[in-house]
Symmetry: C2
Subunit: 255 residues, 2 copies
C-alpha cells in the first residue's frame, strides 16, 4: 500500500484537508502532518528561532494525523525527518480554501509545502479551490484530486517538478496543464485606531491578472471552468538575463 | 536625488542594514522600512490574520527609518502603499547576515523582500554576506554593494527580474553573474524535553550543493572568492514540463 504525506496551510481542522483525507484514506496509507491552526500566506517560511512541537491527533486504520505548531513547510520537514520512518510515495498539500494561481503561488503556504516536497525529491501536488467560502462545495475538487493523485502515483513527475493545481468553483470541465499567469496585487492598507489611539493596518487589495488575453495560463483555464495544473520548480534563475547582465561582471580592481 | 527603499530580514538594529545605509545615505534619499526584530527564513510570508503596525524610528537629513512588526515582504508592501508618497527608484534588501545562495533563496526573507520589489516592478536587489558571524567584517560587502547599486540605478534591470547577490567572507575578487545551484538541506530535528517533560524540536541540518562540479553557479562563484549575482524572477513554471505532462490534460467525462 502506498503512503501519502498530507499537509495544508488552513490547519488540521479545515474542511478541505479533511475532505481530501476522507476520499483517499481507504486506498492509501495516509500520514497527515498539518498546522495546528491557520497558516495562510506563510509561503516557504520555516521556524528557526523558536522550537517546534507536534502531537498525535487521531489514528484509525491506515490513517494517522499529527498537528504541528509550525508553518506548512515545517510540517513537511518534521513529517519527513522526525515523524515518518520511510519516505512517502507522494506529498499532497491541500485542498486549500482560496486561489493559488498566478503570483499567489509565491505567497501560498499550500504551495510552500508542495515546493518543499519537491526539494526533497518527492512527487508533490498542491491543491486549491478558488473560493474563500469556508462552506464551499468540495465534491468536484475532491473527485479530480483523487484522480490526479492516482495518475501521479502511477506515472511520477519529472525530477524537481511539482504541481500547482487550482480548481474552479462549481462543475469542473476537465484539467489543463498550463503556465503561471503574470499578475500582482494592488495593495491597500486599511488604517484603524486601537482603543489606546495607536494606528494599526490591515493588508488588503485586489488581484490584477497582467495577461488577461493569454489563453495558455492558469488564470485562463480557471475562467473557462477547467482545473489548472502548473508544473513548478524552485530554480528562480532567469536564464535569459545571465548574458543580458554581463555588464555586472567585474574584477575587484574596477571597484 | 534618487530614492532607495531599504529593508532586510535581520531587523532594523542589525549591523548589515546599518552598514549599508551609512554607505549610501549621503548619495541618495534613503527610506528604511525594516522589521522590528529578526525575521530570518520568513520567505515571502505576508501577514493577513493580524494587523500590522509601524513606527518612525529615526530621521536625519535624507534618511528616514521605520520599524514594522511584519515580515520583510510586509515591510515592502507597507513601505510602498502606506509610508511612501512616490515609488522609489530602487529596492535593496540587506545586507543579510547569512548565505542565500542555491535553494536558500526560496526560504530567505531577504530575497522574499527583493522578489516583492520585483513583483511591484521596481529594480530590486537582495544582498547577503555568507557569514553567520554577527561581528563579520562588512567592509568589502558594503563597497561592492554600493557599486552595484550605482550600476543598477544607471542601467536598470530587465522587467520582472531582480538580483540575488551573495558575497564571500574576506577579500572579494569581483562579481560574477551566474545561475542558482541545485541544492537542498539534510534536516535534523534536535529533540529536547521542556521542564514539564513535553518534547520540543529544534530544526537544524546541513546544506548539500547537488552540483559540486558545476562552474557556472552561485555556489562556485562564492567558493572562488567572487560575489555571485543570480538574476531571479517569480515565474515558477517549469516550461519543459508543460508538454511532458500533457497526459494530465483531461475532460470531465474521463474522470
Amino acid at each position: 500500500m502506498r503512503t501519502i504525506l498530507v499537509t495544508n496551510d488552513d490547519g488540521i481542522t479545515a474542511r478541505g484537508i479533511n475532505a481530501l483525507v476522507d476520499a483517499i484514506k481507504d486506498s492509501y496509507r495516509v500520514v497527515v502532518v498539518a498546522p495546528d491552526g491557520p497558516r495562510s500566506a506563510q509561503s516557504k517560511a520555516i521556524t528557526v528561532t523558536t522550537p517546534l512541537r507536534y502531537w498525535k491527533q487521531y489514528t484509525n486504520g491506515n490513517l494517522v494525523m499529527y498537528r504541528c505548531n509550525g508553518t506548512p513547510c515545517d510540517c513537511v520537514k518534521i513529517g519527513l525527518y522526525s515523524i515518518m520512518d520511510t519516505k512517502p510515495d507522494l506529498l499532497v498539500s491541500g485542498i486549500n480554501h482560496g486561489t493559488n494561481t498566478s503570483v499567489n503561488v509565491i505567497y501560498s503556504g499550500t504551495m510552500g509545502a508542495a515546493l518543499e516536497g519537491c526539494v526533497e525529491g518527492l512527487p508533490s501536488i498542491g491543491l486549491s479551490l478558488c473560493s474563500y467560502d469556508q462552506n464551499a462545495d468540495l465534491t468536484e475538487a475532491v473527485k479530480f484530486s483523487k484522480k490526479l493523485i492516482e495518475m501521479v502515483l502511477n506515472d511520477g513527475l519529472p525530477q524537481g517538478v511539482c504541481l500547482n493545481v487550482n480548481f474552479p468553483v462549481g462543475a469542473i470541465k476537465g484539467l489543463k496543464v498550463v503556465r503561471q499567469s503574470r499578475g500582482r496585487w494592488r495593495e491597500r492598507f486599511v488604517e484603524r485606531d486601537d482603543p489606546a489611539h495607536n494606528k494599526y493596518y490591515w493588508l488588503t487589495g485586489d488581484f490584477n491578472n497582467l495577461e488577461p488575453d493569454a489563453t495558455d495560463t492558469d488564470e485562463y483555464a480557471i475562467s473557462q471552468g477547467y482545473g489548472s495544473i502548473v508544473p513548478c520548480h524552485v530554480d528562480l534563475t532567469h536564464y535569459d538575463s545571465i548574458n543580458k547582465l554581463s555588464n555586472l561582471n567585474c574584477d575587484a580592481k574596477e571597484i
